[in-house]
Amino acid sequence: MTLMKTLMGAAATLALSAGASLAEPALIFDLGGKFDKSFNEAAFGGAERWAAETGNSFREIELQSEAQREQALRRFAEAGANPIVMAGFAFGDALGQVAGDYPDTRFVIIDMVVDAPNVRSVVFNEHEGSYLVGMMAAEASKSNTVGFIGGMDIPLIRKFACGYAQGVMAANPDAKVIANMTGTTPAAWNDPVKGSELTKAQISQGADVVYAAAGGTGVGVLQTAADEGILSIGVDSNQNHLHPGKVLTSMMKRVDNAVFDAFTDGVDMETGFSVMGLANGGVGYALDDNNAPLVSAEMQAMVDAAAAKIATGEIKVHDYMSDDSCPSLSF
């Protein structure tokens, strides 16, 4: 009898602790892991900021396997977590299967479009931010040759490269852009050694500014650029602090804002297609104490003018993903 009571009590406590998650928001990280210094970490930063400002808590999970994508979505939805935010295009397929089964739950997917009434699809105008850092690269380059190192060769990364090349050309029509991709599989997101080798290869071709849009691989690019005495450009998070005085700037993709906004809007959020660009602070370039000496007033004025023109639509930056082609760069 007493044993039974203990068992029942334990079960009840457990049920309570599982049920206490009601209406908490949840964040699902992709296989790259929470602390990748880039994309997932930016998402985590946004959630932490929301938690610090509101004093509320949120659920999170770092996935271990592909089978857990759908599982995590369903479990959080069944436990009442709302909204559920997932970081990464790889969730597209799973969310497409799950969203219809939980019409009252709001889902937010970043970098991918899923067409369902209860899903907010957040995409970024990475080409606009890349255009700005491309202008800065062309201004800072003395050899008139700049480099681009992408992670996995997917349309999304070509979008970065294409915007970058357009920015370079806008600032200096005589400049040359060397573009390389690290690989064709997800392993390319986390291969700093290959990133380092590509950087050396681009330096030998004359590049003196290198832009890395490659997740964890970029750490190797920035390191080698700093070691070899050339400038580099970081991506997603502000990476200027990694090598102070050696990183020209970082193309900020405010994944943290996307997560923060989703958590703040909560269960009443507007769903549908959400574009974060220059106009609404979704992308931009980073300027802080670490790179202030590298950015001349002239350079800054030029970039800010271009940013204003892009925001008003006066300058149109071509989006690679709109027609799978790029006028300023061939792959």
């Binding site: 770092e62 271990q64 592909e66 089978a67 857990q68 790889a90 064709t184 599989t185």
Partner: protein, 364 residues
């Protein structure tokens, strides 16, 4: 004369190993400031407490049954097949080819041919190391593990360049057509009036896995070929003297082993994802080694060990969902169980043998 009774070998040793692993895991959880009792409850409840939990546990277990059997069959021939991972990857390719390019009228037909395709691809991948071992003496451990890397590269190439749909960012095939959707346990049990969770991925390939267990038992202990495999595994020189061809047995045992590993793809590729993704095997080929070790290379032991590892995987996922225990520590807990049940077997066995020996002397 046996040093200890059979039940101690089969039941007591794994049980003590498990308890030791659990105790160490509890210390690990304590060290990071979480409550080990609550963690265990969460794991048990999440993995076995509902049909949803069972659905996931059995899904993982199905994978491990196939790869565990693959390792076990090779082990009976004295061959250590570490290539289950690569063979299962290629099996996935076989399933994808069968499902994508042939219009199937019904899932049952598709399942039979997908299993054949998966087995064929898996066996073909095992055939090259087997041939090198049989004819050239290249050690099977080295060649199979190298073939895992080659398999990953082949799959990369095929998914990125051949099977990826136009405009997709994911290196994965298109979704398989609706007709080859395998019924989940929910759909199978509903007509019988048994309610089973709709969202769990366990599916009809569990039945295939159980059938494979029975097939392996019949093969190894009830056929002349099984006798030859075991004889060859126990003593190559003895088998050769008895007229058993080492080349033939090495090839056949590895082909069966590769086919079993490949057939795992009917579960994870056809049953769960319904498309082929890059990392579909997720280490199940390596877990198969631990499963076979723990199951003492016996199909029934493999069956039980596979369910235990399924429990660990699903329980681990529940821990990740509802606690702040980081995923790396969940891997540590899973690894401790593998370490104790697989690698540190003798640590428990030797003292136990001494105890049983002492007891026997006393009773005499």
């Amino acid at each position: 004369m046996e040093k200890m009774p059979k039940w101690a070998d089969v039941v007591l040793i794994p049980l003590i190993s498990l308890l030791l692993a659990a105790a160490l895991s509890a210390l690990v959880i304590l060290a990071i400031g979480e409550d080990p009792v609550a963690a265990v409850k969460l794991m048990v409840d999440g993995a076995l407490g509902s049909s949803y939990g069972w659905g996931y546990t059995l899904y993982y277990a199905t994978n491990f049954m196939f790869t565990g059997l693959a390792v076990a069959v090779a082990a009976h021939a004295g061959l250590f097949n570490i290539g289950g991972e690569g063979q299962a990857m290629l099996g996935g390719l076989g399933v994808a080819v069968v499902c994508l390019f042939i219009p199937w009228p019904h899932w049952s037909l598709a399942l039979i041919f997908a299993a054949l395709g998966a087995g064929l691809f898996g066996a073909a991948w095992a055939a090259i190391p087997a041939y090198l071992q049989a004819k050239r003496g290249s050690h099977i451990v080295i060649t199979t593990i190298m073939f895992n890397f080659i398999a990953a590269a082949v799959l990369n190439y095929v998914l990125v360049n051949v099977l990826r749909p136009e405009g997709s960012m994911d290196p994965a095939t298109a979704r398989f057509p609706e007709a080859v959707h395998l019924p989940s346990l929910h759909e199978l049990l509903a007509p019988l009036g048994i309610a089973f969770s709709k969202s769990a991925p366990a599916n009809v390939s569990l039945v295939v896995a159980v059938a494979a267990c029975i097939f392996v038992w019949l093969l190894i202990w009830r056929t002349p070929l099984g006798f030859e495999i075991r004889a060859f595994g126990k003593s190559e020189a003895g088998a050769r003297y008895a007229g058993i061809s080492p080349i033939k047995i090495t090839m056949i045992a590895m082909l069966i082993s590769g086919a079993l590993a490949g057939m795992m793809a009917t579960n994870n590729v056809m049953g769960e994802a319904e498309r082929l993704v890059l990392n579909s095997t997720e280490g199940a080929g390596f877990i198969g080694i631990a499963v076979a070790l723990m199951g003492r290379n016996h199909p029934f032991g493999v069956f039980l060990a596979a369910i235990l590892f399924g429990f660990l995987y699903q329980g681990g996922a529940e821990l990740a969902l509802w606690t702040k225990i980081p995923r790396e520590l969940i891997v540590v807990i899973q690894a401790l169980v593998i370490l104790f049940t697989g690698a540190l077997d003798n640590m428990v066995r030797m003292p136990l043998e001494r105890i049983f020996l002492a007891l026997r002397k006393e009773t005499r």
